[in-house]
Structures are given as structure tokens and as C-alpha cells.
Assembly symmetry: C2
Homo-oligomer: 199 residues x 2
């Protein structure tokens, strides 16, 4: 076996651990919380279905998919940071940078650079592709929350105002989908599964 | 909400169920068996890492990725069929065709056709992209089996001869990776975690 193949397979072996990183989102059947590997799959397929909602229709969907496939790999070392947890969000950047160095550093240099560039692009949210990718990353947990009767919102005492503030960036990446989410959150408040404001 | 968006979101909601379809493969930490959603994520990232091992280097990696993202969606209705279970393999084709009709039929017609074409291409194994995709789909469970001390091979009484016979198609899609797997299976036999032949 060449050294190159060995490094590629070491990384692939390490990837398995993302299946054990638990998120705050519940599966729609409420049997358990979701993990970051299956979440990444879900939103990558969503990019194949919803790519047309990028503004001006002008995105390279394949780059969006690749970005979504790698966007959570750093969580293998850094863990999932619940976006409404202000304390955890504090150290997140430093933790994830160290994770990216170690994890992408397992790969042959050319591939590691490619993965790091995709992750950086996702995090920077400057390109239409990164904006759409970020919008889908936020859309999916909101849908799962809505369809489980607001389970994770209630577990964590999250209000509609917090969901709106946290996810408004979706408007940049996919304005039609954001308009849909604003209405969905109103419906969630009407149904009594989401409070209007922090109490 | 337009009828088109509604159909797209219905499909996306349905996708969540793939996270509860259990495979025979164990996670590398042996904490539980893997599900088909996280498996699909794992092999899609593997395509990004191992795309160069297609013969003549001539594949469209993005089509490989898209194929892998959708290749197991039919299991939402049809369940995972353990490849060494001859009885289950019998009805698999009919079950999966019906599942494809229902599931891809939820989507707007243009997207449903696109998904169905990717799945058909994967199943037919005629293009270099489909051959590489199939090779990766087989490589990952073998790696997980090896790194868990042969857990699923032993659970199901599978021998090296059976693994070789079942997975030899890998040689078409990724000959270098198949050569590596042949050696890995010899090592598994030497370590006593895989029997040589069916007893």
C-alpha cells in the first residue's frame, strides 16, 4: 500500500466518528436525536432538490453539496455546538480551527487543502454557494423541530424571536425558503409549539 | 407556498426516515449498527477522497457523489437488504422498484426523473461513475468490518470466499482499491477474525 492510500484510508476511518456526534435536533419520528453524519447527508440531498432557490439561480450545486458533506467534519474533534448556547459558541472557532488542522492534515496535502478550502468557504458565507449551503444547514433543523411538535425548541426554551434572529442569514442564501420559514414559525406559534418571545 | 415547493418539502420530510433504516455493518467503535443515511454520507465523502482510483482517472466525481447520496433512498420503503441473505435478495428488485416509484414520485417531475436516472445508473453499473460508486459502497462495510474485529462477518457466519465472491465487482470500478481489499481480507484470515471458507 502506498503512503498516499494509507493516509486516505486513515482519514476515512476517522470519519466514522462523526456518526457518534449528537446534535440537539430530534429525528422526525422522535425516536432519538440526530447525529452530524446523517444530518450532513440530509442537507446534501436537500441541495440536490432545492438548489433552484438560490438568488438568480446562479449556483454550482455540486460545490454546495461538497461543502455540506465536509462542513461538520471538524465536529469529530470539536463536538457539535448548539447554536443557541452562548457559552459554547464562544470557544467554538478556536476548537474548530484546531480540529481542521488535525483532521484535514491526515489527508494527502492536495486533498487536505481542497477540504480545508471548502470548509473555509462554508464558514465565510461570502459566495452564493456558501450562502445556500448555510441556508440549508439551518432549514433542516427547523423543519425537524416543526414536525416533532417543537421538541428541541421546548427542551431548550427557544422562542420564535430567537429562531428568527439566529436564522435570518437564510434570507441571503435562499430568500424564498426564508419567506416560507417565517410563515412556518408563525404557524408554530399559533399551534402553541413555539413561544413568541423569550419569557 | 407553491405546489412545487410543497412537493419538494414533502420529499425532504420523507428522507428523514432513512436515518432509521439499520444496516448489518457496525460502527467502528461497535456502539451500534450503522444506518443507511450516515452510510450514504460516509461513502459520498469517500468519493471526494478516492475518486482518483477510477481506472484511467476518468470519472465525473460529482455524479458519483450524487449517485451515492440517492442510492439507498429506496430503502425508506424497501428496507436494507443484507447482501449475503439469498432469500431477501430475491424480492429486492421488485420491492425497490415500487419504492422508487412512490418516493421519487413525491418530487416535482423534473427532479424525480433526475433522481430516478441516478439510481438506475447506479444499479446498472455500466458507466465508470456507477462502477466507482458501487466499489465505494462495498469498500466501506469491509473497512468497518475489519476495524471491528470482523464483528458482522462473525454475526452472520460470512467467510473470506463469500466476501471475495460478493465484492469482486469492485475490481471494475477501482482496481487499486480491490487489490488492497484482497490483501486486507488475507490479513483478516491471518488474524483469525474471518474464516477462510464456508464450513
Amino acid at each position: 500500500m502506498t503512503d498516499r492510500l494509507e493516509r486516505q484510508l486513515d482519514f476515512i476511518r476517522e470519519l466514522d466518528r462523526l456518526k457518534t456526534v449528537q446534535r440537539q435536533t430530534w429525528l422526525m419520528d422522535t425516536s432519538r436525536k440526530e447525529n452530524s453524519a446523517e444530518h450532513s447527508w440530509h442537507i446534501a440531498v436537500m441541495a440536490m432538490v432545492l438548489g433552484e432557490y438560490a438568488p438568480d439561480g446562479g449556483v454550482d450545486v455540486n460545490r454546495v453539496i461538497q461543502m455540506l458533506l465536509v462542513h461538520d467534519v471538524v465536529e469529530i474533534d470539536a463536538g457539535d455546538t448548539f447554536c443557541y448556547d452562548k457559552t459554547a459558541v464562544n470557544g467554538q472557532h478556536t476548537r474548530e480551527q484546531a480540529a481542521a488542522r488535525r483532521l484535514f492534515g491526515l489527508l494527502p496535502e492536495d486533498i487536505g487543502r481542497r477540504f480545508k478550502a471548502l470548509w473555509d468557504e462554508f464558514e465565510a458565507r461570502q459566495t452564493p454557494e456558501a450562502r445556500l449551503a448555510n441556508a440549508l444547514d439551518r432549514l433542516q433543523p427547523i423543519l425537524n423541530n416543526y414536525h416533532t411538535g417543537g421538541k428541541s425548541w421546548q427542551d431548550n426554551g427557544i422562542s420564535r424571536d430567537q429562531v428568527l434572529a439566529r436564522n435570518r442569514v437564510m434570507a441571503q442564501g435562499a430568500p424564498t425558503l426564508w419567506a416560507y420559514i417565517e410563515k412556518l414559525l408563525d404557524r408554530a406559534v399559533d399551534k402553541g409549539i413555539l413561544t413568541r418571545s423569550a419569557s
